[in-house]
């Protein structure tokens, strides 16, 4: 029951006087930058709930999948015998002597399970993905094999897009600045950073990013995914390097690690004891077979995990990496902008020095409403990447208007526009996250993750409920994201809500009513914990109100 109950930070039990033991890393021995937190504050910050699946629900979920598989075989039989018409595409006759392009199980799953509920994903939108968006309506004439746009759309509250600070806007100062950059530079670039694609605006973006994060330098790339997959190999190339990777790391990190052709070890999600064990073992035993010492060891983690809503226990990781001499790669795709008093991300959230993290990576897609990613850190690191990153050498540079969007939104967050609008957005997001999550818990849903995370996963478990939940809420004009196998473990299908600073409390109240209603009808309020009363809305929003008042 690893994930059961509440995980306290680092597992070291608090002593009687209410202070954490020294081994925790918070109190002495770390560095001067770490403020000395009181025990209860740390405990609160690291409070993450992963209520285990109730036994009956687990059994029923397996039963559900069993039924689906049986029906799948039955329908495959019907299709083979010609009773049911096949709508899937088939390969050209010319190619019949070729080795089949796909493995059979994969297509079985797609054909018989995914296709039935495929309308819950890839829903096209036809507006800006802000607090509300227009979702195009689709119908299927052939049992969900093909979806056809009806031409109509539905105005929904947007709980799916990663628009944490609400910068997905089609008007206002950011859009105007982006339009100006478009005028000045055009849309594309047609060259790489190392050749003739190094624009003045890229340099400005990198200066701004480094200043925002409080590190020496930064380098930016046109795609968030590629920032990981094309830069990790430049850091850990060659034999004799070891990568320790969290089991729930994003696909881009996994791919980047894989492209290094080095040894990769996976540790349990956010489990500092497991990391320490693996790290010690690795250093003591050295490389496999030769037992030669490792050249370097890199620990790769994310700030907020996008499927779990959990927050990395950063101070513990920093303590470990300092103690043993490993390096730390922190992917802040979901946390930069979304966490911390001034949006500096997970380092600010925990009050640690960003310079203690060797490689600060993040994306511009989410909090900044743009696209692309950055890597920030020491001058030496960034120089190395400028010279040897796959991306700076071979890939087209970032589009200028996109770069401008990041610069503008970042400056607003830093308050460099002379207003407190950025601060207001951060507070609004924090309040929304807190309010929304607590209300869901109060209703009796099983909610995963950290109390402060703007990502709120709610467990659905059963495959049929994935579709029902998504469709029912869509009918009530709420756009949500649902996720099932293989993106989650088989029995842990879930819905994931992403809060935004653009959401107003009224919107969320409306959505919560709808969710509660659907939850009752679909019997989704699984939680066996004793009900917790949510903190009042007034308390959640007090900081926002006072700040708005000041403005």
């Amino acid at each position: 029951m690893v994930l059961g109950g509440e995980n306290t930070l680092s597992g070291s039990a608090p002593t009687a006087n209410g202070h954490v033991k020294e081994s925790n890393g918070f109190i002495p021995h770390s560095n001067g930058h770490v403020p000395q937190y009181k025990d209860d504050k740390i405990k609160k910050m690291s409070q993450e709930s992963f209520e285990p699946v109730p036994l009956l629900v687990a059994c029923l979920t397996y039963l559900g999948y069993g039924m689906l598989v049986l029906f799948g075989y039955f329908r495959d039989f019907l299709r083979k015998s010609g009773v049911e018409t096949t709508h899937s595409t088939i390969e050209r006759k010319k190619m019949k002597d070729f080795v089949p392009l796909y493995q059979s199980f994969e297509s079985f799953y797609t054909r018989n399970l995914y296709t039935r509920i495929r309308d819950c994903w890839n829903r096209p939108i036809c507006s800006v993905p802000s607090a509300e968006f227009d979702v195009s309506e689709r119908v299927s004439d052939d049992g969900n094999w093909h979806l056809r746009l009806t031409g109509k759309s539905r105005r929904c509250v947007n709980l799916g897009s990663y628009n944490y600070l609400g910068f997905a806007e089609n008007k206002g100062p950011c859009a105007d600045a982006a339009a100006e950059a478009l005028q000045q530079y055009g849309a594309g670039v047609c060259s790489t950073r190392q050749e003739l694609g190094n624009y003045r605006i890229h340099e400005e973006l990198e200066e701004t990013t480094a200043r925002f994060l409080g590190v020496e330098d930064a380098v930016t790339f046109g795609m968030g995914f590629a920032t990981n997959s094309m830069n990790i190999p430049a850091l850990m190339g060659g034999k004799g390097c070891l990568i320790l990777s969290d089991e729930l790391n994003h696909a881009s990190l996994v791919l980047g690690a894989r492209l290094c052709s080095t040894v990769i070890k996976v540790f349990k999600h956010n489990d500092i004891e497991d990391v320490e064990r693996k790290l010690r073992e690795a250093i003591i035993n050295g490389q496999p077979r030769t037992h030669r010492a490792w050249r370097k060891i890199l620990i790769i983690v994310e700030g907020i995990y996008s499927m779990e809503g959990s927050i990395i226990k950063l101070p513990d990781f920093i303590r470990l990496k300092k103690k043993y001499g490993a390096y730390l790669y922190l992917d802040e795709a979901h946390s930069v902008g979304a966490l911390g008093e001034t949006g500096r991300g997970v380092t600010e959230y925990w009050g640690v020095d960003p310079r203690d993290v060797d490689i600060m990576m993040g994306t511009f897609t989410k909090s900044f409403g743009a696209a692309g990613g950055y890597i920030a850190g020491s001058k030496r690191l960034i120089n190395h990447l400028r010279a040897y990153s796959h991306s700076t050498t071979y890939a087209c540079s970032m589009s200028a208007p996109v770069a401008q969007q990041v610069i503008s939104s970042m400056k607003i967050i830093m308050g460099e526009d002379g207003t407190n609008r950025g601060q207001l957005r951060i507070k609004q997001l924090a309040a929304n996250s807190k309010y929304f999550r607590q209300r869901l818990v109060e209703m009796g849903f099983i909610v995963y993750g950290n109390d402060d995370s703007p990502i709120v996963p709610v467990l659905l478990y059963m495959p049929a409920k994935i579709a029902a939940f998504s469709r029912e809420l869509y009918q009530q004009n709420v756009g949500v994201v649902v996720v099932g196998f293989p993106a989650t473990p088989l029995v842990e299908s879930r819905a994931r809500f992403c809060l935004s600073a653009a959401h107003t409390r009224e919107m969320l109240d409306k959505v919560l009513d709808a969710i509660s209603d659907v939850g009752d009808r679909l019997q989704l309020k699984y939680s066996l914990n004793s009900p917790v009363k949510a903190v009042s809305a007034e308390e959640c929003y007090s900081q926002v109100d006072s700040l708005a008042h000041k403005a």
Binding site: T89, R92, F98, V99, L101, Y102, N122, R123, C126, P129, S130, N158, G160, S161, N163, F167, E169, N170, A178, A179, L182, Y185, G186, A187, G188, V189, C190, S191, R193, Q194, E195, L196, N198, G222, M223, G224, F225, A226, S229, P233, H250, I284, R295, K296, Y324, G325, Y327, T365, A370, A371, R380, L381, N383, H390, T393, Y394, S399, P401, V402, G479
Partner: protein, 474 residues
């Protein structure tokens, strides 16, 4: 006969039970021990050659304290060109302002002059004020915007294929497409001159990679024959081993064109699927710019997958793959760069759409481009001390030294040439590679890119400057 068999069995069983009951105790004990021993053997681990070393806690702590990691990254040489990049301010069209000086642009891959096109800017601007900048999500989770679907439709229609799929980053397009199909155990025959994105895709796929000599179909056939021989030895394995050939339409690193008709012949003969990377040939080759298939008049259905980025001819960002729905649709669940990345910013999708529309409206533009390529190719070929690598109709040409010496020295000479040309108003760039990581590093070269807006005067001017500089430097 059959009836007897059935009759015999229960009798036999009865005998066994009886024998068991009558057996002496020591017999049973021995047999039970034997069984336990066998089970023990089955479950015990195979013997170890080395004794397992048990370290004391102190020894462990010593090892931990002794271990000193290498620095995360080495120091980058101060004179590395990436640390002193040239800064472009303003649009990189036919003219570009580099480090404050206006130059004729022969460096960026803006073949059709779409970068700087007013119509495209206007369309992108309208999209910006409708959709904002970012799409804020992957395609699966509300990151699909109607303009993405529209562009996919248009691309499929334009290339005359069944379906197209969009990626948010040019490099990620082919690098994600390859591992979506080719898995561990499959075999990929790849041109050894293939670009870096293909190499990374192959690495990610974990397939067996067999490189054939650059653009040498005979060498490819030799390897395919060898493979066919191996397949005969192990037909069971051969029946599940997918085979692919990976080539580029116009090779980014060489500027030459793949001999496609021969390749298609080999495809059906040896049952290999063809994937083509068409970044440099889409919007360039063929009467309508449909690429290398149109150039050779090969039916596009004979190609299993075509991938191209939209960062050259279309002068936007991102890339696409096109082909039969049977093939392409698979990437919507298996293309990593498609599933796990935020989608292309809608305004950039609109920019690409508009560029495609211009291509449709002005099919003459491709012939114009080819004429300019031929002009420039002929002129550059006459410069003493340099040689031009690539087909005359390719908009990418590599200027190499006619008398090469060491790699470092050549690169330095070419860098000096580029800098000097820049001072004289012609922007050029050395083709950059990660020499340690490339499968086969092409010879050092200046990569010249042709823009359709070049006039004859521009070309004469550029040639004169390069000739002068070559005389000075070489």
């Amino acid at each position: 006969m059959a009836v007897e068999d059935v009759m015999v069995e229960p009798w036999y069983m009865m005998q066994m039970v009886q024998a068991f009951l009558q057996a002496p105790v020591y017999h049973i004990v021995i047999e039970v021990l034997l069984i336990v021993w066998i089970i023990g053997l089955l479950f015990s681990k195979s013997y170890r050659i080395q004794e397992r070393v048990q370290l004391t806690e102190k020894e462990k702590e010593d090892l931990l304290a002794e271990w000193k990691p290498e620095p995360l990254v080495p120091d980058t040489p101060e004179d590395h060109p990436a640390l002193h990049p040239r800064v472009v301010s303003g649009k990189a069209g036919l003219k570009v302002v580099v480090d404050g000086k206006e130059c004729l642009n022969l460096a960026t891959l803006n073949f059709l002059g779409m970068l700087g096109n007013k119509r495209i800017e206007k369309a992108a601007n309208t999209a910006l004020y409708k959709y904002g900048v970012g799409s804020c999500g992957p395609r699966g989770f509300y990151g699909t915007v109607d303009v993405h679907l529209d562009l996919e439709d248009k691309l499929a229609k334009y290339t005359r294929t069944e379906e197209a799929i969009l990626y948010a980053y040019g490099f990620a397009t082919i690098a994600s497409a390859i591992p979506a199909y080719s898995k561990r155990g499959d075999i990929v025959f790849c041109d050894e001159g293939a670009c870096f994105a293909i190499q990374k895709g192959l690495l990610a796929s974990r397939s067996k990679v067999v490189y054939f000599k650059h653009n040498d179909m005979e060498d490819l056939e030799r390897l395919l024959k060898e493979q066919a021989k191996d397949d005969k030895k192990n037909p069971k394995k051969a029946a599940v081993t997918r085979r692919f050939v990976l080539v580029e339409g116009i090779y980014m690193n060489y500027g030459d064109i793949v001999p496609l008709p021969k390749l298609v012949e080999l495809k059906y003969k040896y049952k290999v699927r063809i994937f083509i990377e068409e970044s440099a040939s889409f919007g360039v080759l063929g009467d309508n710019g449909r690429g290398v298939t149109e150039h050779f008049g090969v039916p596009i259905e004979d190609i299993d997958l075509i991938s191209a980025n939209m960062e050259m001819s279309l002068a936007s960002i991102g890339g696409f793959c096109c082909g039969d729905s049977f093939v392409i649709d698979h990437q919507r669940l298996s293309g990593q760069g498609y599933c796990f990345s935020a989608s292309l910013p809608p305004m950039l999708s609109v920019a690409a759409s508009e560029a495609l529309r211009i291509m449709e409206e002005k099919p003459g533009i491709f012939e114009e481009l080819r004429t300019r390529c031929q002009w420039l190719h002929a002129k550059l070929s006459s410069i003493p001390g340099l040689k031009v690598c690539g087909e005359p109709i390719s908009p990418i040409m590599h200027l190499q030294l006619a008398a090469p010496s060491s790699r470092a020295e050549d690169t330095k000479k070419l860098e000096t040439m580029c800098n000097e040309c820049m001072n004289q108003g012609v922007a050029l760039t050395v083709a950059r590679y990660l020499e340690q990581e490339e499968h086969l590093v092409p010879p050092p070269s200046i990569r010249v890119a042709v823009n359709v807006e070049l006039t004859e005067d521009d070309i004469d001017h550029a040639t004169a400057v390069i000739t002068n500089v070559a005389k000075m430097v070489l």
